[in-house]
Symmetry: C2
Amino acid sequence: MLPRGRPRALGAAVLLLGLLLLVGLFLLAGDPRADAAGGSCCRPTPPEPPDGRPSGPAAREGAPRPPRCQLLHVAIVCAGLNSSREVVTLVKSMLFYRKNPLHLHLVTDAVARSILETLFRTWMVPALGVSFYDADQPKPQISWIPNKHYSGLYGLMKLVLPGILPPGLAQVIVLDTDVTFASDIAELWALFAYFSDKQVIGLVENQSDWYLGNLWKNHRPWPALGRGFNTGVILLWLDRLRRAGWEQMWQLTARRELLTHPATSLADQDIFNAVIKEHPGLVQPLPCVWNVQLSDHTLAELCYLEAADLKVIHWNSPKKLRVKNKHAEFFRNLYLTFLGYDGNLLRRELFGCPSQPPTGAEQLQQSLAQLDEEDACFEFRQQQLTVHRVHITFLPHKPPPPRPHDVTLVAQLSMDRLQMLEALCRHWPGPMSLALYLTDAEAQQFLHFVEASPVLSARQDVAYHVVYREGPLYPVNQLRNVALAQALTPYVFLSDIDFLPAYSLYDYLRASIEQLGLGSLRKAALVVPAFETLRYRLSFPRSKAELLALLDAGALSTFRYHEWPRGHAATDYASWREAQAPYRVQWAADYEPYVVVPRDCPRYDPRFVGFGWNKVAHIMELDAQEYELLVLPEAFTIHLPHTPSLDISRFRSSPAYRACLQALKEEFHQDLSRRYGAAALKYLTALQRPRSPV
Amino acid sequence: MLPRGRPRALGAAVLLLGLLLLVGLFLLAGDPRADAAGGSCCRPTPPEPPDGRPSGPAAREGAPRPPRCQLLHVAIVCAGLNSSREVVTLVKSMLFYRKNPLHLHLVTDAVARSILETLFRTWMVPALGVSFYDADQPKPQISWIPNKHYSGLYGLMKLVLPGILPPGLAQVIVLDTDVTFASDIAELWALFAYFSDKQVIGLVENQSDWYLGNLWKNHRPWPALGRGFNTGVILLWLDRLRRAGWEQMWQLTARRELLTHPATSLADQDIFNAVIKEHPGLVQPLPCVWNVQLSDHTLAELCYLEAADLKVIHWNSPKKLRVKNKHAEFFRNLYLTFLGYDGNLLRRELFGCPSQPPTGAEQLQQSLAQLDEEDACFEFRQQQLTVHRVHITFLPHKPPPPRPHDVTLVAQLSMDRLQMLEALCRHWPGPMSLALYLTDAEAQQFLHFVEASPVLSARQDVAYHVVYREGPLYPVNQLRNVALAQALTPYVFLSDIDFLPAYSLYDYLRASIEQLGLGSLRKAALVVPAFETLRYRLSFPRSKAELLALLDAGALSTFRYHEWPRGHAATDYASWREAQAPYRVQWAADYEPYVVVPRDCPRYDPRFVGFGWNKVAHIMELDAQEYELLVLPEAFTIHLPHTPSLDISRFRSSPAYRACLQALKEEFHQDLSRRYGAAALKYLTALQRPRSPV
């Protein structure tokens, strides 16, 4: 029978608490000098007599949990593109198991900050706060320390966290970006309760023999207590550190050691260990399961084979997942769990812990609540309101040098068009900004795809922005807007992923932009005429002359000539054939050419999701804003055949889909009239014609 | 400071144990009559005085865990195709959090058994045992009970578990297939420790007012204690039940209640509750978090808003995930986590709990260990050895009636060819057996795709077998073998997914099989000539005459005429053009026609993964076994254009890939010589010619 009845339960709780206290006192009455001993490495419960079997998890599991809704603070130093990708997996694992509100304190460089700000803003995780701290600012405090570790200067930054983090913050868990949680972080936080009055830092013992020295001839590590401690997971009692004069303490030790050591080998960890060797009373050793270290010669096995439970895994080798370990498969599985985990699923509330909802979440909830589930366009409207998680610059990228007439190719794709990327790179040697609509698991496949391709991995000027999938309809215009917003050149070529531009187009566009004074002298959109082939093995034309020959031979046609000629008729292909100079064309209903415009052009209307009318509306808006439409006589781009995507085939045949599209078009037009007044009347007339492009 | 030192830890453990015992005694000294009261529904800790706030999780979390490596037993009744899909998500969630060895006792019908046997055999999860029990056998013991619940007869089967499960099994956790774990099942098992001597069954209170009656006019539920108990999660103390004469007990109660009730409304649950009402001392109420019930008018909120932690979610409404609940999104997220979770990641060991490895696992480990990582073909050999998880008949399927000349179309595909399925269904009105290579998440997308397609959901004779993705290379021949093994007709048409057969082919093949006495009179493979179009919008020929016209017009060509004519040249298209009767052709090097053969034909050689030579080897084997090759004069199939798949484009360009293929071909030939002796010499000669088909 279980306990029942409040008075009884209360009584029991009081009794239990008392007894636990007793046990606690008994356990804590150990010899403090034991702290100074090396202990035997890597047991589930930390240092024990050399002969000892581990005492089992009981002592650990008895740790009091922090109060249910207590806010827990986590600090992470994160710099550069790869770290900002890595940290996401850490955060996912932490959020998966957490039951407390969390606040992340992220010390970042500008690159990581821009990526992570966008990510967390669009992730909208309830009960998760995020603060950013500029990693450049404290650099002078550590840059004098020579360091050989692969983490570089940022590896040393954990030393100065007490100065970086807000003075009011008393305790914080500090994590490396290469750790993965396999349990609730509150259990780790609970270990603060074991700190004695003098202890300021909780650490897990090193699971390697590095600090014992003699790993090779002349291997002379920094001083440490026995095996030393690993700093991938730290409990930092900030206010005590500040009061204890931490800054002077570590600087003094570091300066002294640097007299005999040329540099740190393991960054902050060498200095932490040297300080601890000098002041062993500062450290509270933590159970080994809270930092299971998977370096090449790890002794971690001694820990995890005895433990019932792994809490945190630390990939503390530059090889990361490729590290050699006979249980590597096991650990990789835990890591891959969160690597591929759908981050959208972590947008779940913490029941019973009231917290400030994420910015925009309430408004979003209201808008969603106002939708009518019976409305035939419900799915469209829901999709349009969806806030997709966005990870900009997912892969290494070098911004193009500022050049006044440079142009970025802008496009969007999902997994089924990855095959186009290599060809596109061959056709377009300039910068690109591509939005990819992927699941978390697909994002990893995409990463491997790029890494495996010499063509793609050689390109540093292609920026890939991952927009995470959510909902049944392809958010084509939201994707375009993400890619457009991230273009860094003054001009953009608004293309689609299944088109290959003429080899010369990049150079030709830049020359044309300069010649025509696009944006400065002339408010215009430059039209790149579109063609298509239905053949898989097209010998791509090297010039306009070759293109015309293929057109005459029937190997090419103008784009959608058979199915939807209105889309491109206004380009006036007959004139283009003869043209020697750019010529102006007039807007016409349903016109949807591929254009080059200044980067600050109007955004795409996000209400158009799925397929149909998404570009038409944009061109209409350009016309309403009085952009001239100038067709370039030597420019062309060719659509390649492909299997229709699942997204398109699911909806093309549906009458409900067509009806919704019509409704959305009408609403778009009303908005247009509101914004542009009588000038927008001509679009209404056009709209009321019967045919509709789906 | 944490505890350290063995003697101290031991002393502490003894002390702690003693104290816990004391606390336990104190807690257990409650009034046994309280059991009989209705209690207030759905609190984290079960029944409390009406005014009581829940006493918090302390009492629950103090429950002793079962010993670290203790084997825990779980029984599940599972019948039919949908339940066998549902149970996988339950099992995944259970395995994700478990830290103990588990044994599943599955009471299944023949359909579920065949699916789940294959699934668990290929899943190879360490420290997981599975036993099957025939659900048909105990049917007579319950079929006399009229039942209106949607679970049908199988819903009642939990009543007779003490008789079905092995006599030596003392305790078991019984689960409905529609529950999802959010915690370690060992914590649930630990609650057995709270049973008094007389208690035999642990249950969570119902989280609805159903058993209070008066939900509507003349609503007269079966008798229950207060709100009654839900039987989606049961702790069953089997040996006590058997000793207490459970069988007579429930039968007596059921017979008596059926005098005044026409039938059970909630299957076994009505009877369990009626028995408990009569013998309240039998039940141990469990904390509500172990069965959070999400039916339409659930009161579960009272439970989970107070609890720090949800343990098990129960989708106990026929609406399942579509149930209306203001926190539905939260619960769906937990469910979707495991629905899409990669089951391969659960193949992880339980460190420190020695257990019998799954059948074949040791041999597999040895074979993998023998591979040379430096071998250029390492990836190929590893892929070939991979045991893929297989879920046969993933979707509803009716086996075709036995017909002596019936033929099943056999093919395999991955996500990027789903679009082919509708067209294929229109072209082939007969049975199909299709292997799909998918991730767990893609399998769900596939399910939605079929449900959304009227064409596909109308077909009951198409069997879909999901082979879960693992490794970098497409295991084409393993997939073919899975689909082939599941074909239920005497003949099979071995096709590829990007081919559409002539509309008349299904009828024509059956007639030809009968006429030619295929399999009985003649050992032959019937060749279906292959063509291709490079055009997306082909008006598919309705007859051989129309096909020939398209061929002459250049809209069609013979398959791979331009790139690889050797693959099909031996079909002798010139003869086919004129042929009025089947004609015999000779095997030739690299010949890879599409053929119809008896179901017991040789399997495909699984060493060919990725692309290349996979069909060639199979046809060679048919020839070695002296199958005649007979070309059918009216048969044809047409290859449609498609974007090259990622799998193919990744490897086609790689010289290492070609080299490996060559090595695999040579090894295949050696095997062929070993098996067929001198007769296989001609294949060697063919092999040594220079060109290789990739």
